[in-house]
Amino acid sequence: MDAPNSLVLAIIGVGMMLAGYFLYSRFLAKKVYKLNAEFKTPAHQFTDGVDFLPTNRYILWGHHFTSVAGAAPIVGPAIAVIWGWLPAFIWVTLGTVFMAGMHDFGALWASTRNKGTSMGALSGTYIGARGRNLFLVVILLLLLMVLAAFAVVISGLLVAQPGAVIPTWGALVVAVFVGQAIYRFKWNLLAVTAVGVVLLYALILLGDAYPVSLPEEGMFGLTPEGVWIVLLFIYSGIASMLPVWVLLQPRDFINGIQLFIGLGIIYGAVLLATPTVVAPAVNDALPDDTPPLVPLLFVTIACGAISGFHGLVSSGTSSKQLDRETDARFVGYFGAVGEGLLALGAIIATTAGFQTAAQWSDFYNSFSSGGVPVFVEGGASIINAGLAIPSGLSATILATMVVLFAATTLDTGTRLMRFVVQEVGEIAGVKIKTWLATLIVVALAFGLTFSQGADGAGGMALWPLFGTTNQLLAGLTLTILTIILIRKGRPFLPVLLPAAFVLFMTIYAAMVQLVNLYNAGDWLLLVIDIIIIIAATWVLVEAVIAMLAARKAPKEPEDDVALTEDQKLPRSV
């Protein structure tokens, strides 16, 4: 196959995702989920101005998208293009159209139809008490893997791109300044935003001019990556305990702005530079340590193709704010499309950002050599060609963007996991104080990260395992969706087939990793992998039992019979 132009790739990819939205999601909305504009959504039924609040669908989409988008749809594709650009491209586009969109949309719909309850509660309702426990285990694992994997990603990037050190840590000062300016001094937000963005980019210029490298022999007996990991966990522990208005809220805000600037820069540069994809369509000269494409591709790229994490956002949060049930199609499906676009951008940057195929293979000479640093290098040369920003500076911009994204996930994840730990404590009858719960979380994540060696090289073992957990969660969510659809007597194959595919790939990938981890003697990850396999098998068994039971049960009536006047909204005006 001739090397295609990246612009062609972008147009085909965007075209497919848009077609997915306009055609496939319409089919889902009409035939499968049967959205009803008259259905009284939980936002109307339980309005309390706190959790339940009817929200404009564009604003809701904005929240939904910024909650689900992060560094993961960049990291996954940046690793997975080692198999060539074509498999990653196909998985991202088809995955977004037929799986991620359907999954996010479906989770949102199912939760809306069940009083806005979370997926965990739904698994309790539709699978039973065991299903609920299973869900807790999977979520705890997922959060733990996120923290460890992202700490490795950030530390690696800070070492590879020392220019990003000053803007990364300086961004915290900018965020605190923004928070104070808004809450204490009540300055105009537009002006504060402009100043904040200018400050951030000034820091990027400064960092580019004065890169900060830790001594290569390390400090305190740790490698440079190890030092960064320690500092990152100290930071995330503190940040997760501060009142949110001080740091997290302004930081999320600046990051959101930065997300749109970054996406604009990348796609703008691709449009102007139209670089050629130099990477092979299918890489037939794979490095020796590369695991088999099937099944590992399907867990390496989770976010951007299908991600169980989205179901948590869909079901816990967005479903309580849905104004009309028909908005679920736009918010849920289009949220997945936004993430697919991010993944597509990462594929282009990592396959078209190089001069020759040989140069590309130098970067992908081992499975552990790919990933975000290559995205930064490749993306930088595209930006350099398209927008004439010097490569070094472009690389600093991209590295800062990715680090800030991943750091957001790191401290939000610490915060979320703290709540889970406190909840587990409550079940056990012990009250765990905030600082102690945070300490437990940080210690667990820290232990997991350093079990992979203090130089961050273990990130490549952690990442696929994180993807596997994420896909397991997606499989669980799709299973619940299938059961709901069977009970309603609706067509369920559009959900069941992806569910079967995802669960099969999850178990298969976990098995392959089991062998690898055993050979590597990595006992900690081996235990986690075994837990994943047990949980996945458990999901499968419970799913089959619940589905068979649902098939025998009498079908639930449709809206025209079931809805009382009280459960209806007035027709839109």
Binding site: G49, V50, D51, L53, I59, G62, H63, T66, S67, I182, N188, L189, L190, T193, V244, W245, L248, Q249, P250, D252, F253, G256, T317
Partner: protein, 84 residues
């Protein structure tokens, strides 16, 4: 409305909205605690400021129902004050 105002409003929504729930919930938790202080005498907890909180009781009665539901009690815990 000028585009400047509209940009300011949109931006504010973007800033405030993701954490609106967090703040609202923190505020609600604070008010729940306050409700418990006001009701403490009735719940059997000695309250040195009961003279002052007694005056607040009529003000708080409207919110009583939501409060006891949030605390996981289907019925009002106070014999003298039934709201549902």
């Amino acid at each position: 409305m000028s585009w400047f105002d509209r940009a300011e409003r949109g931006l504010r929504e973007f800033y405030v909205a993701p954490y609106r729930r967090v703040f609202a919930r923190a505020k609600r938790d604070e008010e729940d605690l306050f409700m418990m202080l006001v009701l403490s005498e009735a719940l059997g907890v000695p309250n040195p400021a009961s003279g002052a909180t007694l005056e607040l009781l009529p003000e708080m009665l409207d919110r009583m129902h939501d409060w006891h539901i949030r605390q996981g009690l289907d019925q009002s815990p106070l014999d003298g004050m039934q709201c549902c």
